[in-house]
Subunit: 212 residues, 4 copies
Amino acid sequence: MLSRFSRGELKLGRIEAFSDGVFAIVATLLVLDLRVPSLVNHTSAAELGRALLNQLPKFLSWLISFVIVCKFWLNHHHVLGQARHANYALVWLNSIFLMFQSFVPFPTAIMGEYPENPLAISFFGCVMALNTVLFILLQSYVQKNLLKPEWKGAEDPHLLAKSFVGPASYLVGVACAWWNVYAAFAVYFLTPWFFITPPEPRPTRQPPNDNA
Amino acid sequence: MLSRFSRGELKLGRIEAFSDGVFAIVATLLVLDLRVPSLVNHTSAAELGRALLNQLPKFLSWLISFVIVCKFWLNHHHVLGQARHANYALVWLNSIFLMFQSFVPFPTAIMGEYPENPLAISFFGCVMALNTVLFILLQSYVQKNLLKPEWKGAEDPHLLAKSFVGPASYLVGVACAWWNVYAAFAVYFLTPWFFITPPEPRPTRQPPNDNA
Amino acid sequence: MLSRFSRGELKLGRIEAFSDGVFAIVATLLVLDLRVPSLVNHTSAAELGRALLNQLPKFLSWLISFVIVCKFWLNHHHVLGQARHANYALVWLNSIFLMFQSFVPFPTAIMGEYPENPLAISFFGCVMALNTVLFILLQSYVQKNLLKPEWKGAEDPHLLAKSFVGPASYLVGVACAWWNVYAAFAVYFLTPWFFITPPEPRPTRQPPNDNA
Amino acid sequence: MLSRFSRGELKLGRIEAFSDGVFAIVATLLVLDLRVPSLVNHTSAAELGRALLNQLPKFLSWLISFVIVCKFWLNHHHVLGQARHANYALVWLNSIFLMFQSFVPFPTAIMGEYPENPLAISFFGCVMALNTVLFILLQSYVQKNLLKPEWKGAEDPHLLAKSFVGPASYLVGVACAWWNVYAAFAVYFLTPWFFITPPEPRPTRQPPNDNA
């Protein structure tokens, strides 16, 4: 049964198209949480200004999630570029990753609505830690089973260990949320900057060109 | 009139792009059913926790539908990869299949909202059985009329009969719903695992490579 | 100023990708109008059944619009396949066409909500007639200015006149709506079947292959 | 740290696919602001007519935003066509630009809801000015660092200065809004026509073909 998953040679192009679609929709749906406020006096600039300022936590949640989704997109692009081809195991690891990627608007909306509720803030961090772990699973599978020959030995051997900095940092934010929600916001804001560019190949080897 | 449909040579690439777009949007829209709960006490973790637990049937509906949509995407990829080219009959069979694929968020939302209503649960199963039948029509059309030469004879001759296990299983769930809704949930959850990888070509022939 | 629009050589691939995205989203958003009904008794199959039957006009509007959008997608695919390349005039004619294509969910929702209101029904027909006229503009521009050499003379010379059957038929529906809304529904349902396949090239010439 | 961003050779194809997805979704989501009006008498054409006329500011906002998004798409296509390849700096400049592009439905909805509120109208102009500045940053980066050899010297040397006409014009609209909202609407409507086609290469050189 399990060996069926290592079969199949699928077009990476359609997997990328499906994934790009999901990433683009998730990134764009995030804005649907910003709601047009209800004003008593429709022409009052002061009332609209106060209503927009009240939505500040929603803007901040939107900003953090958008950056995180773009970071996942960039790293996803990097990992699929390292794969020779796709098999069913890759498709399903990718689908489960995309499932929780498409889930992101929900914890983002809850964090934006209840920015002082510790459970709301820690729920966001848990979902992001889970997303990062699912991405690491996808990455490890590609590197163990489907790596293009020119990438063999070119990756940092400590990459897997370094990857866990992401989930660990989100879980620090989860713990912070029960002590101070603002500290948790700061941790979530800073975490994506760690892996903002994919790891470079080791300089001792000729850098592979993933543009082909 | 009917013969017009067998004419036309369309770019499979644009049919795939349109289909991937629909699959990606359907998969991502499913999350819009998870609503931010209304809390009396905005900072109460206990109240938010209870509200999220109450949405458990919605999470479960979302999970089941996401896996089913991914399964359809994977099998759709497999079938279009077997076609030499596209004609108008393929385009319209594909459009009708996508129409009911794009319908999936509606029964999913109803099942998530009314998880103890037998009609809600059986409606979901009927829609999924219909989707599977529409997919089998698309698959049969490709295999009878548009199959690439290298795939001729490579498919399991009992494939068509085996494909009907899917709709039959969903209809078992539909019947179960009137007896016990939890049994129906279990049947819906288990059904997609049957066709989780497309059928392998028969081992007596050299396996075709659909990566070209 | 006007001559600037005939300049530019744009990648047809990105225009197709943007258009396919819009078509896929429009087709999928149509389902968002089907709302989960509010039930007094959550477990009553009879109440849910009546509530779903009350939504019959919405299901019908969704079905009609989905078929129309797929028909536009198919004809759009056909016309862009006849173009040598894209220039700015094509991009803007395409954008204006897509603008009113993306408008389709709005009259669909109004028709589904107020199926016995003559203005609601005739508004739908007017939007569809406008969409068809915008498509004819796009098609005429391609055939006059950007036609691939192998398509020259291959199209039916009466194509332009025949194309106006579409808007004329929608306008018949618009007029019917003020007399009998059910007749208008029937006209809207039948209209897309007229151009359900793009026109075939004339048999006296070797049929061009737009699959390249 | 900063030098990491100038590394990487990414597939322009996936960046275009992700961007096209975001553009298509933003353009299509704009229509979700047009709401089905609530009627007292469901079959009254007069009441529905008045309700649709009351939504005129929303139709106007939708129209202005759709044209602006299409204009950005066209110029984005032009700039990415000038790039030799993509690096991480390009990806992040593109992501930040897309972030505020995906934000567009929010100020559009506010302007459509409160068309006589000066803050609502000036908020829209500020967001559009910001979008234009972010686009100019992306464009400048490509032209300084990633320009294809055949485009070197082909662009108008005053292009950067001319590009700032866009943000300046939006800011004129922002100022107008506090004096007369209708004047601001007019300015917003006229601004995108300035850059409705990308700048032509200088006629003294052979025009490069970006169709490759």
